[in-house]
Symmetry: D2
Subunit: 364 residues, 4 copies
């Protein structure tokens, strides 16, 4: 009996060590993990410019939890030099690089690459990419679904497909939706954000996705000096297991970080922001109370205070920098025990042209 307790203790400490190793972009709400992912990536095995090893190293440097090297099934730039017999090679090579305890996970995936309609679709959590090769896109998607894959529509706003860059459904997409052959949609792809794709996601119960679609180098494509970074889809998962992550994707439990914006459903983002924006009192001086807003996340929070009080130094628009704090002084007129502070978060989008709203109760 004692031995078992000891074992549990040891295991628990191991788990703790591993979870410490993961990069925390955000504090996680209780009971879930925020899995950082990029599920749209290319290498020399389709039309990318690097060997899969670079993709693993890029992901490690950024502290990602999950990637998928989703080579085009139909578009192979270097076929004269690279003899791709097995479409799982990119996954095999990258996955073999992983060490036992590292936080990074890799899942097998492919890009079904058809002319519009239907356009390009990523299938991740596939078992054998070779079987997805099919001149008929719908059949390829049926096979992907048969393998249990999570399938999402890539860059529905792609200007090469839609010359006005407005994402919209064709008849074919409506049929694919009806048959539940795809489950997600890229609202963010590389540098682009599509408000119309967000609308489609919300109207059709599609999972909101954001990906890098990287072909060259991450460092060259996303300019750190401008605070740019690769788009990351955070998957709100009960466990750090592939099974749980796949379930979360199918349940639309995601939000996307693009530039300084967060994009996702209100129900997904509200608990995350509630956890990552903590507000405490530093006490009154006369009838002015100093309030500390602390941002525990990598994303600056651009707040518009919508309550009735006024501040002693700022107007109603304030910014709490990433992983930093801001002190404000609130003129509450009387000495109070607590106040409600309602905010609109100007850089968090929950619906087309609609920002997240949150009200925090602050004990004074």
């Amino acid at each position: 009996m004692k031995k078992k307790a000891l074992l549990i203790l040891i295991l628990f400490s191991l788990i703790k060590v591993n979870s410490q190793d993961r990069k925390e972009f955000f504090k996680s709400p209780d009971g879930v993990f925020l899995i950082s992912s990029d599920l749209h990536i290319h290498t020399v095995f389709s039309d990318g410019e690097v060997w899969p090893s670079i993709r693993v190293k890029e992901a490690r440097r950024e502290g990602l939890d999950l990637i998928s090297l989703t080579e085009h099934l139909e578009y192979l730039s270097y076929k004269n030099d690279i003899d791709i017999k097995d479409r799982n090679r990119s996954f095999q090579i990258s996955n073999a690089m992983l060490t036992k305890n590292e936080p990074l996970m890799i899942i097998n995936g492919s890009e079904i690459t058809k002319p519009m309609p239907p356009g390009h679709f990523n299938a991740v959590f596939v078992k054998d990419s070779n079987l997805l090769i099919n001149p008929d896109g719908e059949k390829a998607m049926i096979e992907a679904n048969k393998q249990g894959a999570f399938v999402f529509w890539n860059h529905p706003n792609w200007v090469e497909n839609r010359d006005d860059a407005i994402a919209r459904l064709d008849k074919l997409h409506e049929r694919l939706l009806q048959k539940k052959l795809f489950h997600g949609i890229e609202v963010v792809n590389e540098h682009t954000y599509s408000e119309e794709a967000l609308a489609l996601a919300l109207e059709n119960n599609l999972t909101i996705m954001g990906t890098s679609d990287i072909h060259g180098l991450i460092d060259w494509t996303f300019d750190k000096e401008k605070n740019h970074h690769r788009p990351i889809t955070f998957i709100i998962s009960k466990n750090i297991t592939k099974r749980s992550i796949r379930d979360a994707l199918f349940s639309q439990k995601t939000f996307v970080w693009h530039r300084d914006m967060l994009i996702g459903k209100k129900e997904n983002l509200l608990p995350v922001i509630d956890k990552n924006l903590t507000i405490t009192s530093n006490g009154y001086y006369k009838k002015i109370v100093t309030i500390k807003l602390k941002n525990h996340s990598v994303v600056p929070l651009k707040l518009k205070y919508t309550g009735d009080y006024t501040f002693h130094s700022y107007g109603s628009v304030i910014e709490v920098p990433a992983n930093d704090e801001l002190l404000i002084t609130v003129k509450t007129k009387e000495i109070l025990n607590s106040i409600e502070m309602p905010f609109e978060i100007l850089n968090i989008i929950v619906e087309p042209n609609k920002n997240l709203k949150i009200t925090k109760t602050v004990r004074l």
Copy 2:
């Protein structure tokens, strides 16, 4: 006749050289100059910690056009060591440092320092500060007005006077207003911004003022690493002469730069922003047009686009950094010759809880 033309040309080029020497915080709207000023400053001649020479050097380093060393008439911290016979000394010493061609100007001023009500008032453009010494604040203000001074109410939100830090008028202030004994009000003082003071300014036709009220060192008080800086009142003046600047102050032609905010009347700020935010087209690709927003000012412009189009990379909230530009791509659906782009500027306040709105026409 020809000689005269030549002379005019030479003189003109001289003037141009001098105006180039001035620091341009903003591009000036046609026909006016934006005079950068700080009209509330202390030295060892009241309760400041530096000799007047440091104030001149601080102003030069920041490129200010105009300062006033406004020593307390009633509060002299070092009177045992500094024997102040003449209350104009601080002005005399600083003014004597100015060289012929430098852009910095200094005007004589004093702080009439009474308990609330009425509180503290600055009189600038005074002729002889000694004559303002009077146990009765109202009489001191009458004398200041007799000398032609511009008088403004200092920090009406001062927590030592108003324990809730809410600026409001007492009976005495109403009488002083009726008698037109003061003409401006500090909406910004050192680190504080008072929305209630802004309301008072607008309701009572008072000039909107922002000042440093500096006692220690500017560099230590306003943290450059947080992009803080001393509050600056920009005076919209027809000429760079003291007479014209004084007229502009009396005509409420000001706005204030505090942290990353601009505060002022809509009629004063709109032409300034119209000049400093230029928007041009970089051309269409398919039906997406690239638009360059250029900010010619020292203040970042935090824009909320309120029109009907959507952008290809950003949501509706964007920021054009100070003295920099931002490229956005607009999905206009059809190829157009021009568009109207309406914006709310989130960091420019024209009324309590009301931001500046501006619509720019962009030729495509």
Copy 3:
């Protein structure tokens, strides 16, 4: 006749435009060009981690004039996936990317990869890499020479070959030298500098080479935050043509930039430093003269003044930062018309444990 003059003028201006496009790491001494090069580079066509296109883009970003993708002939990491029928592919692919007017040039090259002795040798300016494949290293080198290639010994200090990392000649190397089968030696390879290789170069009239030997990404391998950069061999060439550059390599006209060091023969480095360190007088105050040292190069110059005067602010060791200047004040005791200023340059190595010395005459 006139037309010809015009044509020459036009051509001259074109050449000028192009030479302006080149990045100038140093000012060139009169009559020569300093060709920046990295002649030891790998891609997925041997054991590197990127497609050749990345190597072209890396070189463009750094402003290099010349590279060679020198794949191992005998070591192919990815042969199961990449079917290399033609060993010139890496060159063909990269060379096809070049545009008409860009400054970057690419030459064909290969790494003859044998166990020690003789170890690894690069052959550049080869005509057909396929013909260099030979189990006998000496025969491979004979073929390279037959093709007119410039051949140099790679990392003679490689710890996998020499467990003490001391570069030295084996019998076989002596024979190869006697037969003049190789002409240069890497004194710098990736992160390493070998003083013993420098000695071998000087004793055996070998061209001093420094290369990145890059397999991964340049940005990840050389840490900009520590002011590291890829090693660059500067080739002192009469013209910006491949022919002239090849001649310069055979004539030992090179020096190497590694970290903050320059390494090369005195006769090559002295004219470069003489051109890039200019010293002028800002005039006397009493009997102290202010001297401006200007460094026109990308390398900081760490100077030890070895003359008899003393300085008014510094000791005898001073540093003129890269592309910057330093003001010093010299106490010349009398007012002089000119002085001789002798310096040892602590970060420029011309022989093992011997720095470059230079004396500049300064008109006062």
Copy 4:
């Protein structure tokens, strides 16, 4: 008995807390404290531009242990405005600002300001500055000595006194030396370093001093962006008491930090550098050993290795940045248990044109 032990424990922890509060510019050699000091400072009480409070705050911001506000006795710029009855006022005002537990200490001092010869002399640790006012400089120095003051010669290289800026003794100085009326000499004053003053110090057993002689603001005078800072004299004292510090000054136990240089007697600097440069092994790979050089001080250490081994990446000149470390790899030819590493430190001056040498034994 137990109570006493507890009391000692508590006291010890209190002392520890206080010594932690001091800024450690260097690790202290065992048994001594390195007291950071600036003993030449001006305020509005002579010809400086700030009230004494600013000097206290400047010293606190830099973490100094000891300052003295050494007003000119004979040169009072603002005498028409500031009525200096008591020449101890500057000391009194600043000293009254100190709180019980802060590390900063202030001692009374004055500058005896005579034409050359003898020039300017600072007397610190004076009891009553008023008594030092005397038209005869020698008599003023006799009075200072009577009060137990430590007296040092200010800027003997001042170009207004010596038009060649060469420090040298006049007859009068020789007499003052013989009478032991002064005990130290400024080798560094504000921006200047005088090698000749260093020679005079060593020849005449004078304490080596470096001071800011600040009149304006420290931040404006010493440019942080160039890594400049005010000159600091480190006093090697047995205890952190004024008595012990005074003894150390009389015993020539000092060295000076000026720009990136340290200047002092070899016997004073050697133990400091021995403590602040620690060298440890990270182990062998084959016959190359990785060595970690760690610099525990605020001064970069510019080392020239003078031993027989060569390094695997660097030449013999290396720099260990301030409060940082550098890894080098040494080619020891055989696997050794320990090596001797002799260095010359190029930015530490112990005699005119002579650097500190140090040999460290490294266990491998």
